[in-house]
Symmetry: D2
Subunit: 433 residues, 4 copies
């Protein structure tokens, strides 16, 4: 029986040197606006399906978050810029009042983009005042709120990218967000299994930095010996599955997966289409040929699961993934690389056998999104952040090419329904030892 | 501005003095852009239901119409500005090629508004060249095409207004298109019946000006003696129907009307809501109290029919309406008045007993939209303009406050499905003599 | 100006000798049960789409009609067999109280079939008493109610057949209602045009026998000269339309028709399928090869309209049909022939140029179902019989192979929405002279 | 009837003495038909929602199972009674061929009930021959197939009851399946917590009797110390939740649960309605007053979860439940008691602190239905029995008043989507120690 602890260094803050609160606030907020630079005013308005939100809404909602949870309760005499914004830009916090319907965010032309930027500036200005003038005691109380506000904004930075990708993709003119920046060419390492021992492990966060409530409490979990593949599944490998009738063989799919495939007419990952016999896919750099070496992306849980079954393997459990990730350095193809797409794996130069653990694509695990033993959501509206979604979703791990390196952790649990495809989602295989 | 009535002079061209072709082209095209002046860029993009189109789409589609039916076939060496616009801005002309799905017009952010205006300018420039350089023979051939293109654009001017009204109405911020300009106050004339004789009448257009193919051929139709009310039904009268349980009494409704009412939850005309016990309604001037003297507006055929049954009357047949309209002067509350809403009736100063025949609201008739005896649609794609819609729609007559006075005729047949409410639609009563 | 009158003999009662009221009541009621003889208990229960009703429901509903409109108001001390039947077996008469939802009739297993037959017997017994004991004055008052009750039952006899056909058709075992009885073989007469003069005609019923309120009032209607084809369109002719891309050419269809075709995936008339390169169709005698000489059947208005356009013709107006039918003898392939399917035309032996006017299939007209001038529905619940359906339906004329010859008249107006196909519906062509 | 508890003796066969194969086959098959005795022919035909199947279909499908997996492969020269039954009565085994659509089982009237009973007799007769004549070697091979066939039939016995309950419930006549047999009256024991220790436990089946593949492999699982309530939540307790606004307070619900509640309009458990201020509910004995002492039943996972949150507790994990169940005697209110409804708890007469663990209602756990570590489905079509449903479902434990005592085990994992309510489903609470 063995309990694997996180080494103390793993839990150091992910970026160094540590910025001041106000600097970090400014940096994250500016980053959001930097992501919008390539957009036209019209691009901010569109909602192409219920899951996605107009860019303008993201910009306003993250400001609403600071206003609602920090400025209103903590800045004396704070007056909202517009009292109706509380209604328009609340997402799902029932304890924060009534809200505009999610599937109708694309029906609003006002406030305009310029007005939304003015709203952001208004919130920033008051946040600056608050952080500069608050007592030490208040600042201590505010710190976790500012932290969650910034991590919340970073989540929406990622959604902003995945959502604008969807918006552009349904337009026959195929707009380009930013041109393609080819990654260094190199041959992809062969797929190989990496072994992990059986044991009673500790899972979940216990450090001192920021983490979401769903990453705790830390608890014991028994794992049989298992193996993970050294890198992500590539387009070439996924094409082999497709060529072998992957999308025509119901016995390889979950029952609900097959029903979804038929209903949606899936025959390839999302954003793929065949043009003159050649697979191309829409990316944030426009339409591109499918590169066989890049990790397959924009597949649902159902497809990932069917692929794994076809490959004689299975998807990892989230605990298996976390144990493996703890010993892997935090580096990878994050949004800071400005590829906005996963890139082909390159052989490890160090002693770490697992590649592409962080960044590139969120990795589907076979773990339903459920509370850890002893989990208690926070009181009040912020308690709605995670807990109420623990149903009919699966956990994904590791961040993607649209995630900030300052936002991810080994214990980070992302979650989506099994039919979701519009995030940067991909596949790593597992098997029993 | 007034146009002479029926009998021999009736069928004179609807506007005088006749402008030159190029002047009229320029005037209509500029009018469209004038209507857009109050809009923000974001307003151009929204589609709030399948029936309506984004402003930007209207602007582009009417230009596509000139490009497709005039420039491409008649201007030598004409090159479209962007070959994909033919796909994006075709509405329903199957003989003009594939087209973008109608219910997805609100999913496109590109081309931008500026690009659409550039497209308009490009088409205008080439139209100018064509009209200035074409031979007399070509000009003769082009004249009906230019005319239909301009009337087509005028139809979209009206839709542009009714559509932006819907877009603004679903926004909790209730944007104002243009401020309210109160019409002259005066007491509304009492409702009274005007009698018409039985007879074998001629119906339909036979003049020399422009008309749509569905207005002909002129043909004989026998009418029993009948009566029409002298003015439109007012909000006060409609409120009496509502207060008498109009929306809770299925036996007053058509079967399909009642099913629609229940399914849609209708309890008042469209755009109405009750605030603190008072009925208000959304107008292009924002939220206003319901004025009891104004004509009721934004009612479906089902509501108009139920109201008429409650009132012990019925809706007019379109032939009855047309015979009555021929003797009524062409004047009224058209878009040129810039009220953008129906106004209360004022007593006639002349000898014409019927008020509000033209303008204010389109008047529902009980005539299903069907071909006149001998009707043949034109050959080619323009034959799709009217004929293929002759099913499950009802005819409306007389134009509205969003219609141009240069666009309407006594024989003009508008048509909408019986559940439509977003146009400026109202009620005039009829009965058997 | 010409007014074409019905000859006096046309309006004689359709069957002779005239039965007594009680005899006719018994005969019609027994006929209903005779139609059910081939059914198993399980067959009575099924509802395969909202439009159709389980056989058991038909049997009960027509008895409910007599109970509600005759026994309850007119038979002293009448007690319903079960007070809940009033709720279960009311169809759409809102003035007769609440009712069970139409689309859920197939969710009920009780009352059982045996209980429904007992209900019929109970109503019959009381009707017998009432007709035997009522005063002459009461009998006079009852006569039109009994008549409408019997005609109502005859309508449901037809629906019972068309509905059980649909029920059987979705069952992969393809049950047979009654075996095929081949009609006499003979070559089908060539298609030919029959001419009719222009004139101001009188339309609608004015005799002394029973008629539905929608057949009146009799009124004047002007018709241009026109032509009708001498017989119904055959399967061979319709197959030529299909082979010429009839179902792949949107410009031949109404806009709503094409949308329906695409949505429903129609590629042939209802009940047709291709097996090993050969068209077969499901009939009440099971699966049979499509006979090229038989009239095409189970086509929607949309298909009939598209076929007519392809053939360079149009569908008749209902007034045109009625004028032509008045001079045609009342004979044809009615339900009494027990073919339960249309049969091939045979050359006329008399001087009547039009074949298959009555029976075989209901003929789609291009007339929207609308009230005749001066139409007033009856007071009370029976006023809901026809009038409230005058919206988005088209008129069909002439009866079918499932109609009783004692039920039809030249003025009879049947009506269905343009997408309906499960009735015995077919095509006769018309054109302007 | 009582079965020994955990540790070494736990995994003895669940019933003793062991019947012969043929006897047990006959007993289970006869039991199915006994359950149908109260039904009318019409009752066998109805399908009131996609989840449920007509009785007739259940009767045929379980016979198809024996035919497909035993008779066809193992009885030489076996000829199916009707080759189309393979298509009609396959449920979801894609490797067993095409099948009739699940949501259309209620559209079939044939084969008749009598024909389905004949099909059962045909299969039974051949099974008898096979079991009487097979070699010892074949019998050994057949044993697990016969066992799974019988357990499969027992599952459908339960569904047959829950499905006919739904069919009867939508009928305004509220048919009675079997009259109410009141259970012995006694006061319900007070709710109390029972403690369980933390530890690394073994979970899953490892005995020698029959079990489903999803109950294994047996594996280690670490549990923190926890508590379970001694009995099921009663109607009285659930009414307190309802009276405290349980159905109006979104913050007590999962996000998807609340959306489901709103969409479905839930305000009470399924089958409940308020009549004259009093809660009644439909049972297999007809409409009855809600008994405050009986366990609450027909609640979804969403309601169970919201109730637990309101009560300051949570639902048990399936591992927690299983560890507790192992030490509890196998007795309870099973279908053999013929209550067909859960009954009030009575104080334990023995030393077992947990009441109602088995029978009464299936207990929702908070465990998503997922494969155990090392799980591998069987090869071939029988491998589709469980594994392909491991997505978006939750595990329930313990059997119900519609389950046979010969069918249940401590390791038995039932599973349903979180919105399911038509099974006999209820609530036991848990909390961390």
């Amino acid at each position: 029986m063995q309990i694997e602890a996180l080494s103390s260094t793993l839990l150091a803050p992910p970026t160094a040197p540590i910025q001041t609160r106000a600097e970090r606030y400014r940096a994250v907020r500016q980053r959001t606006q930097w992501l919008c630079q390539p957009l036209e005013t019209e691009d901010y308005v569109i909602q192409t399906m219920t899951d996605i939100s107009p860019t303008r809404w993201h910009l306003a909602h993250v400001s609403w978050f600071f206003e609602t949870f920090i400025l209103k309760p903590h800045l004396p005499a704070y007056e909202p810029l517009d009292p109706q914004y509380g209604y328009l830009f609340n997402s799902y916090y029932v304890q924060a009042g009534e809200r505009h319907a999610r599937d109708q965010r694309g029906l609003l032309s006002r406030p305009t983009v310029a007005e939304v930027y003015a709203y952001r500036a208004y919130v920033d200005e008051h946040m600056k005042v608050l952080l500069a003038t608050a007592s030490a005691e208040t600042l201590q109380e505010l710190t976790p709120l500012v932290e969650i506000g910034l991590h919340h904004e970073q989540q929406h930075q990622e959604l902003l990218l995945t959502d604008i990708k969807h918006v552009f993709s349904v337009n026959p003119l195929y707009p380009v967000y930013r041109p393609h920046t080819p990654a260094r060419a190199a041959s992809v390492p062969a797929s190989a299994w990496v072994d992990f021992d059986e044991g009673l492990y500790e899972i979940g966060y216990d450090g001192e930095g920021f983490f979401y409530d769903n990453e705790g409490p830390r608890h014991r979990f028994f794992l049989n010996a298992y193996c993970l593949t050294n890198r992500l599944v590539t387009n070439a490998e996924y094409l082999a599955f497709m060529d072998d009738g992957g999308y025509e063989t119901p016995e390889r799919w979950l029952s609900m997966g097959w029903a979804t495939r038929v209903e949606q007419g899936w025959t390839a990952p999302s954003y793929w289409e065949k043009r003159e016999g050649q697979w191309v896919h829409f990316t944030l750099a426009g339409l591109r040929d499918v590169d066989p070496d890049e990790p397959v992306c924009h597949v649902s849980y159902f497809e990932a699961d069917a692929y794994a079954r076809w490959a004689g393997a299975r998807l990892p459990g989230e605990h298996e993934w976390e144990i493996a990730a703890h010993t892997t350095p935090m580096q990878g193809n994050f949004v800071e690389e400005e590829h906005f797409h996963p890139v082909a794996a390159t052989a490890s130069t160090g002693s770490h056998p697992l590649l592409q653990v962080y960044g590139d694509v969120w990795e589907w695990t076979r773990s339903p999104y459920a509370p850890y033993p002893g989990y208690e959501p926070a009181d009040g509206a912020l308690g709605e952040y995670n807990g109420k979604f623990m149903c009919n979703q699966f956990v994904l791990r590791g961040g993607s090419c649209a995630t900030s390196i300052t936002h991810i952790r080994p214990t980070y649990r992302n979650f989506f329904p099994p039919n979701a495809r519009w995030q940067f989602m991909g596949i790593r295989l597992a098997k029993d030892a």
